[in-house]
């Protein structure tokens, strides 16, 4: 690995100051499961690595009536082992419990997943459909960015060189709502998504019709995609094979996949459709209180 300096600030203020000074030559280190691997592959060469695991705001997990706030450095394991999250935000458990294996989950953070901005990142579609907001800070001030606007290209986000992701906040789930995330990988664990899909649905009181829905897909475009039309097509529609298939087809048509070592265009399109169907069905089940 190249030579670099390391520091571990214990306040957000100090971290903001360091980022303001060093800008692009500094990178934050959360779990390191992307950053360390990329540095070793010579694809990232920061001169200063700032450990983001000793900053209280970034390591906090808060859950209350208004919703959920996940510090950027909180590990996947901390998230999916939290009973309240499992109860109220099971789709987040879907997403975080399959990142790498247990070893990776012990370190990998949702902040890192978001800031690394891989097209295949497994937490991002879920955060999108849950309407999560990324809260960002620098010495120039704070910004709130909806997660669906966060990633702009493979490995690139809207963050400026000096900005720090503090946490993501997720609104409390509405009544009669449910969400689900699924991905497809050739193995059963330890793989990068060939395609993934997340859905959030809100049903009416009868439990028979969609009030609204949000759908996002991944690994099938340069960034994870929030497919607004696919969700919108379900508004007011009855829960049926037909309406679900229709939404899945819209999601599939929004995908712009490539052929690479992880999959083919044709397979990815088929997977988007299949997974979207499956997550919608499961989200509906969760909305009416069934376990999936």
């Amino acid at each position: 690995m190249h030579d670099f300096e390391y520091c571990a600030p214990d306040s957000l203020k100090e971290a903001i100051g360091l980022m303001a000074t060093h800008k692009s030559s500094a990178r934050l280190l959360a779990g390191g499961t992307d950053l360390i691997v990329l540095m070793r592959a010579r694809r990232k060469r920061p001169e200063l690595v700032i450990d983001a695991k000793h900053i209280p705001e970034l390591t906090e997990l808060k859950i209350n009536q208004e919703g959920l706030s996940i510090g950027a450095s909180v590990s996947c394991r901390t998230i999916y082992e939290n009973d309240q999250i499992a109860e109220s935000y099971p789709a987040l458990v879907d997403s975080t419990s399959l990142v790498g294996g247990i070893q990776v989950q012990g370190r990998a953070s949702i902040g890192g997943n978001l800031c690394n901005a891989a097209p295949s990142a497994d937490s991002i579609p879920t955060l999108m459909v849950l309407g999560a907001i990324a809260n960002v800070v620098s010495d120039r001030g704070e910004r709130q960015i909806p997660v669906e606007e966060f990633c702009v290209a493979p490995g690139q986000t809207v963050l400026e060189d000096d900005e720090i992701l503090v946490n993501v906040t997720v609104p409390a789930p509405a009544a009669n709502s449910g969400a689900r995330f699924l991905r497809f990988i050739p193995r059963n664990e330890m793989d990068i998504a060939v395609a993934n899909s997340a859905a959030y649905v809100e049903l009416d009181e009868t439990g028979k019709n969609f009030r609204s829905a949000r759908i996002a897909i991944g690994a099938v475009a340069p960034t994870p995609l929030f497919v607004e039309d696919a969700g919108a097509a379900l508004t007011g529609k009855p829960i049926s094979e037909e309406s679900i298939l229709n939404a899945a087809v819209i999601a599939r048509d929004a995908a712009r996949p490539i052929n690479d070592m992880r999959g083919t265009v044709e397979h990815r399109l088929q997977l988007v459709e299949t997974l979207t169907k499956r997550v919608l069905n499961d989200a509906v089940k969760r909305a009416i209180g069934e376990k999936v």
Partner: protein, 159 residues
């Protein structure tokens, strides 16, 4: 060259301090600085689990941790599994049930399995397979290895 940092940790219940460069992984520190070579390198990018250690109670790949991050932390490696010449039940089971062949992945599996049993003393076969998916073994086909973990868990639950 960046300066080496002085890091203080607890490794296998003994306090240990060392000097390392920021670019040295915890794996490298364990193996090449402290000569604790029981922890193995298989891929050096988090894909094989051979370098598994338990850090502050959490199972991690030591290749994806910087040595400097270990400041103040408590680390368990394969060298600490047996105490006073007494093998850990997992070690005994791996030995007696042929839970290994070439042995290179064995320390990683032992540590990962220990982390599992610490959390879930009676895991099912499926839970074991899921937990160990981050560790690759190319020799055994996992059969005897998974059975060894099941046997160890049973023997630990009995006492």
């Amino acid at each position: 060259m960046s300066k080496r940092s002085h890091i203080t940790t607890t490794i296998n219940n003994e306090s240990v301090d060392f000097l390392c460069e920021p670019r040295q992984s915890l794996l490298e520190v364990l193996r090449d600085v402290l000569y604790l070579t029981g922890t193995k390198e298989g891929c050096n990018d988090g894909n094989c689990g051979a370098c598994s250690v338990i850090m502050d109670g959490v199972l991690v790949d030591s290749c994806c941790v910087l040595g400097v991050e270990a400041e103040g932390s408590k680390i368990e490696t394969v060298e600490g599994l047996s105490s006073k010449g007494e093998l850990h039940p997992l070690q005994k089971a791996f030995l007696e049930q042929t839970g290994m062949q070439c042995g290179i992945c064995t320390p990683g599996f032992l540590i990962a399995a220990k982390a599992l049993i610490d959390k879930n003393p009676r895991p099912s076969e499926q839970e074991i397979r899921h937990w160990l998916a981050g560790n690759l073994c190319r020799c055994t086909g996992y059969d005897k290895l998974v059975r060894s973990v099941m046997t160890a868990a049973e023997s630990m639950a009995e006492v």
